[in-house]
């Protein structure tokens, strides 16, 4: 992207008053500029939940992780973010009246591909919904019950059951059984509850 194109994008994102669109446009711009430098990023955490569910969850920070390379030196991070007029660093910057955090290498155990969204300033990669779901289910009960994470999981399950997001239920079960999560009974219970509430078949009991 030329400097002029970046400036136009930043002006658009700064003026954006819709929280979700602002996040997504910024993810698109940041991903594109890093991609031009051979760096692939993925949206994780609450921002990814928001793009899958429209769940009114995000705050003012956008969380991204590195896909490749797995590590990026601080000078390179600062230089690339500098093209966006960012302030701060070296892991969190202020850009277009929003915070962008780059958290290191993506933690994923899913064998399903990353989802992709063709956004206004370039492709945005999203952590797989199976990874997100099992992670939120775990956070909802460990180290103690945490309602915001349960709400995220419920909205993601609902989006999948309603056919808004393609989820591989077998893969989610496989992840939930893994020693890194050990959360399958909680996942199955939550899927059962949401299935009943929506009047949809439970994918784990059909």
């Amino acid at each position: 992207m030329t400097s002029a194109a970046i400036q136009r994008a930043l002006a658009d994102i700064t003026a954006e008053s819709d929280a979700t669109l602002k996040h997504l446009k910024l993810a698109s711009l940041v991903s594109s500029v890093f991609r031009e430098h051979g760096v692939e990023l993925v949206v994780v955490g609450g921002s990814a939940i928001e793009f899958y569910t429209e769940g009114a969850y995000i705050s003012g920070d956008l969380d991204l992780c590195l896909i490749s390379p797995a590590r990026l030196d601080v000078r390179t991070r600062q230089e690339i973010m500098g093209r966006l007029g960012a302030k701060g660093g070296p892991r969190s910057w202020e850009v277009a009246d929003q915070f962008v955090d780059i958290l290191g290498e993506i933690e994923t155990l899913a064998q399903t591909p990353l989802d992709e969204l063709q956004a206004p300033y370039g492709m945005v990669r999203l952590v797989s919904p199976e990874d997100l779901l099992v992670e939120r289910v775990l956070i909802s009960v460990y180290p103690q019950r945490y309602e915001p994470a349960e709400f995220c999981a419920r909205k993601l399950i609902a989006a999948a059951l309603a056919g808004h997001v393609e989820v591989d239920w077998k893969e989610a079960r496989r992840l939930a059984e893994r020693p890194e999560y050990r959360i399958l009974p909680v996942l199955e219970k939550l899927v059962d509850e949401v299935s009943h509430e929506l009047g949809k078949p439970d994918p784990y009991h059909s």
Binding site: G55, F99, L117, F151, A162, H164, V194
Partner: protein
């Protein structure tokens, strides 16, 4: 590429293995919000987090921009 719709309504699904277009993602916003609202409160933004100080400074005491109303999506 033709969008894949779900069987109940013409809402494009966020698919695996190929990108969803911007237009298709926008088309699904309202349906995704409405579905989520059936199983959890409409707004589930955390009331606080470790980023509170910087967020509230940037967003005039709030933790982020307001969300668009469901009926406006």
């Amino acid at each position: 590429m033709k969008s894949r719709m779900n069987s109940e309504n013409p809402i494009p699904i966020i698919p695996k293995g190929r990108p969803i277009s911007w237009e298709d993602w926008l088309k699904g916003r309202r349906a995704r919000r409405e579905t989520g609202n059936r199983v959890a409160p409409e707004i589930i933004r955390r009331p606080s987090s470790s980023s509170d100080q910087r967020l509230r400074k940037l967003f005039n005491g709030e933790r982020g921009l307001p969300f668009k109303k469901t009926e406006d999506l």
